[in-house]
Symmetry: C2
C-alpha cells in the first residue's frame, strides 16, 4: 500500500501530534522551569527538587525540551536554558512573554477542545466572555489577574513595535482603549518621555492598571480612564489605540467603536487599530485564520478581518487617510488619520497632508 | 528592548500556538471533511450544508486548512482535498489513518491538559487505563470501539512496514500479542498468503477482532486467541509480535512478558517488539520523549525506552541474537531470535546462524 503512493503521512502526523509540543512548553512555564534555570544550570535531581516534581517522567520531560531546543544539556549533563527561552520565558526579565503562555495554558487549550461544537452551533463555548460580558469575567479576582496578565503578555511585542515605529514626536497625548493593565501605553511612554495619557477600561480594571503603571514608575504621566465604551464617549487624545479590541465584536459594534474613536480624536490625530489580521488571499497566513476560530469559540460575534476591510470601515467613520503595516509579531496595525481641520472644498489642508506623509514614512 | 537582542520569540510563539493547528485538523476529521471532499470539490455553502455546520467561522476554518496545505481552493473557489489528506484522511480508503486522529481528539487532547499534574504527582491522570485496567476500558462498548479504532490506525503504518520488511517466507505462523482489532496480523497476512496465526487479547475484544478480520476476508487464516497475558501462557507460534505493549508497563512486567514470549516461541522463532523508542542521545527525537510523557499521563508504570535497553532485556530473557530497526513511521522495531535447538557448548548450530543472517539482511 505504502509503496504504491508517493505521498507520505508525515505532515499529517506532525500536525496531529503538535499539541504535545505545545503542552510540554506551556507546562514548563507553569512549573517556572525557565525562571529557575535562569539562575544557573541544574542536574536532573536538583531540578526535580526545585520544581516540586515527583520524579517519574521528569527526565523525559526535560529531555523533550532539549530535543525541542528550549533547553540544552551542558557537558556535566546539567540542564540550561536555551537562548530564546532564557530571554522570553524567565519571569524576572522585562522581555518575559510567559504570561501569554500561561493564558494559553489555563484558558485557550481547554477552550479549543470545543472547536467542533463551536463550528456546529456557531455559538461561543466558554465562560464569561462567551456571553460578551467583560464585567462577569472581571468579577473573580484570580480569573481577572490571569486574564489581564495574559493580555499584557499578548500585547507586549506589538506594544514594543508600536513604541519604536510610530512617529510619536508629532503627538502629545495617547490613550489606549480597552487597556487592561496598560501594557501598551507603558511601553510607549517609557520610550517617549514627552507623551502623557493613559488607558481606558472598565472600572474593575483600575487597581491592576495602577499597580502595573506604578511598577514602571509612570504614574505621573499615565492615568486610568474608567468607562464602558458602549455607554460612554471615549476620552479625548491625539492618538487613540484599539489593540485586539475590534476582533472581539461583530461588524456593527466595530463601526460604532470606530465612529466613537473618530469623534474623540483631536484634529490632526490618529487611531491605531491592531489585530492578527487575515491576508487578502486567505491562504498563506494560518495564524490569523486560526485566531479567528479562537474568536468563534470565545465570543458571540467576533472574528479576525483583513487590513483592507478595516481601512474601509475607517474611511466610512470619517478618517481621511489610512495605512496598514505588519508589526512583525503576528499582529497587523491599521492607522487612520483625522484631518487637522474640517475638510473644505479642497481634499485637505497642506499642513494635514504634510503631517500624514511624515506619519506614513515611519509606519 | 527588542532591538538590543538578536534572539526572537518566533519559535516560542510557533510552538505555543501549534495546538491550534492540531485541533483544526482533528476537528476536520471529526466532521468527516476529507471523506466528503474525496467525492469532489464543493463550494463554501455546499460544504457548510454537507458537514452540518452553522456557518459562522466556517470560511475561516476551511481557509485555515488551505493555509496549512490540507485543502486547496480550485479556480472556482471550491474546496478540494490536499494530496496527503486525500490519501490518508478519506475514511473510505484503505490507507485511512484518521482513526488515530479521532483517538487523539477524543482521548489524548484532553488527557494532556493534565500534564503538569502528572509531573507533580508521578501518577496517571486519566480514565480506566490509569488504573492499569484494560477490562474496565473495554466495559463500555463505545469507549472500546473508539479505543480499538485508534489502536488500529496507530498501528497501520508500522504493520505495513513490518509486512513488507520482515523475511516472512522463513516462517509459517504469526500471533500478535495485545492485538486489538487485529490490524497487524491482517496487514501481514494479506501480503503473505502462506502465513496463518492470529491475535491474542482479552476475551472482550473478540467480536471486534472477528469483524475486522472478516472485513478483510482473512477469517480462514487468522483466529482469535482469548487470554490475559498476566494470568496465562502466550500461544505458540514461529513469530510473536508485541507492538505498543511494553511501553504500557513497568520494567518487571516488561521482563515477565519477554520471558513468556521466549517460552511460547517455537525453536528458531522470532519476537518482534515495536514502540516509539527513544534515541540513545535523548536529545534529537522529541516524538518518542513526548510519547513517554503520554505514558506518564495514561499508565501507572509505563514509559518509552531505547532500542539498546530492549535488546538487553531480550538477551536476559534468553534471546540469542537481537536487532533494532526504525520502521519509518515514528516506531522502532527490535527483533529477538530464538535458537533452532537448545544451545550446546558451541554458540549455536550452523543452520540457526544462517537463518539469523538472512533475517538480519531484510530487517
Amino acid at each position: 500500500m505504502l509503496q504504491t503512493t508517493t505521498v507520505t503521512p508525515d505532515r499529517i502526523l506532525d500536525v496531529s501530534y503538535a499539541f504535545w509540543k505545545t503542552k510540554v512548553l506551556l507546562s514548563a512555564v507553569e512549573l517556572n522551569l525557565f525562571t529557575v534555570l535562569a539562575e544557573g544550570p541544574l542536574s536532573l535531581p536538583a531540578l526535580v527538587a526545585r520544581l516540586g516534581l515527583q520524579g517519574r517522567g521528569a527526565r523525559d520531560f526535560f529531555d523533550a525540551l532539549v530535543a525541542l531546543d528550549f533547553l540544552d544539556r551542558d557537558t556535566d549533563g546539567r540542564y540550561v536554558n536555551g537562548r530564546d527561552a532564557d530571554v522570553y520565558l524567565d519571569r524576572r526579565k522585562p522581555t518575559y512573554i510567559g504570561g501569554l503562555l500561561e493564558h494559553l495554558n489555563t484558558r485557550h487549550y481547554q477552550n479549543w477542545s470545543l472547536l467542533t461544537q463551536a463550528l456546529r452551533s456557531g455559538a461561543p463555548q466558554s465562560g464569561a466572555l462567551a456571553t460578551g460580558s467583560y464585567p462577569a469575567l472581571y468579577a473573580d479576582s484570580t480569573t481577572q489577574e490571569v486574564f489581564l496578565n495574559g493580555m499584557t503578555a499578548g500585547s507586549l511585542l506589538a506594544a514594543q513595535a508600536l513604541a519604536s515605529k510610530f512617529p510619536w514626536h508629532q503627538y502629545e497625548t495617547v490613550i489606549d482603549i480597552g487597556t487592561a493593565q496598560g501594557c501598551v501605553p507603558v511601553q510607549i511612554a517609557r520610550l517617549h518621555s514627552h507623551l502623557t495619557g493613559g488607558g481606558f477600561d472598565l472600572p474593575q480594571v483600575e487597581p491592576a492598571f495602577r499597580n502595573y503603571v506604578h511598577e514602571h514608575g509612570l504614574e505621573r504621566r499615565l492615568r486610568f480612564y474608567a468607562g464602558d465604551f458602549f455607554a460612554e464617549a471615549l476620552p479625548e487624545a491625539d492618538v487613540l489605540i484599539m489593540g485586539r479590541i475590534l476582533h472581539n465584536w461583530d461588524l456593527p459594534t466595530r463601526e460604532l467603536l470606530l465612529r466613537k474613536a473618530y469623534r474623540a480624536l483631536r484634529a490632526g490625530g490618529a487611531l491605531i487599530v491592531y489585530d492578527p489580521m487575515v491576508g487578502q488571499d486567505r491562504c498563506t497566513d494560518a495564524h490569523a485564520l486560526l485566531s479567528s476560530l479562537n474568536m468563534l469559540i470565545e465570543t458571540t460575534g467576533g472574528s479576525e478581518y483583513s487590513g483592507a476591510e478595516c481601512m474601509n470601515w475607517m474611511r466610512q467613520a470619517g478618517f481621511y487617510e489610512t495605512r496598514a503595516e505588519p508589526l512583525g509579531d503576528m499582529h497587523t496595525a491599521v492607522i487612520g488619520f483625522k484631518l487637522d481641520s474640517p475638510p473644505s472644498d479642497a481634499p485637505g489642508t497642506e499642513e494635514a497632508h504634510s503631517r500624514l506623509d511624515s506619519g506614513r514614512r515611519d509606519l
